[in-house]
Symmetry: C2
Subunit: 339 residues, 2 copies
Amino acid sequence: MEDVAEKAQVSVSTASRILTRDRNGRFSDETRQRVLNAAREIGYRPNLAARSLISGQSNIIGFVSPRVVDTPFTALRVLQILTHIEIACSERGYHLLLSSPRYVNGALDEHYMQLLSSGYLDGLIIHDENVNFSLLEPALEFGIPAVVIGNREHPYFVNGDDYLGGALQAEHLLQLGHRHIGVIGLPDNSHYAARLRLRGVMDVASRMGVSTETFYRRDGDFTSESGLAAAHYLLTHHPEITALLVNNDRMAIGALQAARQMGLRVPQDISIIGFDNLPQSADTTPPLTTIDQSVELWGEAAVAMLLRVRQGEQPVSRMMDTRLVIRETTSAPRTGGLR
Amino acid sequence: MEDVAEKAQVSVSTASRILTRDRNGRFSDETRQRVLNAAREIGYRPNLAARSLISGQSNIIGFVSPRVVDTPFTALRVLQILTHIEIACSERGYHLLLSSPRYVNGALDEHYMQLLSSGYLDGLIIHDENVNFSLLEPALEFGIPAVVIGNREHPYFVNGDDYLGGALQAEHLLQLGHRHIGVIGLPDNSHYAARLRLRGVMDVASRMGVSTETFYRRDGDFTSESGLAAAHYLLTHHPEITALLVNNDRMAIGALQAARQMGLRVPQDISIIGFDNLPQSADTTPPLTTIDQSVELWGEAAVAMLLRVRQGEQPVSRMMDTRLVIRETTSAPRTGGLR
DNA sequence: CTGAAAGCGCTTACAG
DNA sequence: CTGAAAGCGCTTACAG
């Protein structure tokens, strides 16, 4: 920068002001040109660390998603969100720092704390789906502006409407005529979204006057293996089941395998509906009926919201569009009754 | 930091030295304790931006993967690698900065250049698979230590053995007795890996004395849709084909759908072999035979290698284990001859 | 073993 | 419209 100033025959202050597009103080067009040219010739690029030190701004946004035991559980959804966060950040000139804090002995890992206090972060997008612990609180303690994905207990969040999604799942199956339904869920005290999805299911049943006594529940753990096991269990113990309502697509894909292994045709013998509409869900055999939550829009929404929070505004949280995607794994139950 | 020094009744210099575990200068245990305690009580955490400014070290490692047009082409593999890079970084106290540079009018985007010159990066892991442009060169110009994934023209790389993988694909199919083989590849002038895979295929054929005149090739573009289209084309135009050898799993999954749509049974009527062993490839119907390249180990390997490069060492590049994973989409061709 | 002082590369009141 | 100077929070020769 000194070199630039010298070459343009101005002071370092002037160079700095022109290069940072200081809104105050106008400069003669001529000076500006001299500085800009000099910078270009020298190939000057600002040192962000120095700028960050003094301005308190780093132009770095953090995205954190907890690592739970060994399960990168919602990996695909996280990737989708991450991809779009990266695009949104880069369009706005921000860099993206990624971290996946874990819990060791019930405490957040030191590395995350260290990041929060590093001065590196202008803001944080927190993927905070787990009921049992929060990545948000420490961030708030450090005064870092934050926006949350996956949980609605924070003033600023971006989410799908999980309750509505669950309702759509149940409505679809019930309208098709299914009454004996296997529900593959997630443990109640794990994720916000899972709880809401199931609540939506139950509320629709009661609204439609359908008894949930012939709903049989078996929980999985996000993975397709657990979906396979749960489906196998349900279909074996409750042969009257004609449809499987599954809490996420990964487990639904497992359920699809279970049906195949048991020699059941989908959807003729058994209907299956998932939740998430992963990219791969259109490619299953047969293609999966599921719930879409426009995750491809979440990243942009989260970044935009975060930047407004930084500026002291109070943006309103967003519930993204949720809709039923009917493909080929659902149909009316066979009239013949039991399989 | 000043507060810590004051509280511990030492100079700022001393506090700094103790807190950074300066290898030189020993300190009386008592002083050290005083400083450490003071730091703990105050909840002192270093400002990394300042440290970075002076030391020239940021403790940030960058991972970049190019965004090619609108195709987040190897998205799943990238995620797998990214996940493990993140783990490896965090275990070593490094943070991870993510960027996905694009090309605008043939030039790398300004945002990437800005990142390179920001002083934020201690090193770079570059996912550089595309033959047509390189993210590596600009990094080297800025003198940033770098390690490459997906390309072996750089001194330091981590890769799978794509040539061997292609050879394994072909060998498997040929040993089963297939001679009329549809090859779904990628354009020759796109990716290093794709080219090598195909070369392995061809070399094995000639080594086994099998004519490749009954190999029919049709290229896709990574996506399952393109795999579906290519498979459909091949199976329609060359009904004598008994096996499909596909350059990646995403396209293989599309091929699986094509077979299904055409009423062909896999593997009885048509065998299919993919490449990558994506997490979802075990969950297809039927489960996909494919090539595994231990991608779950690449992240750790890349980070370890990068850190050694930073220290001025010259680590040897790594070619990761590549092996055939036989599942249920391949079998001997039907003896009856044509379908 | 410990401290005073300079300096990393930038920005920003404060003067003019 | 422009410059001299202080300072962001830390580290590191240089002395003692």
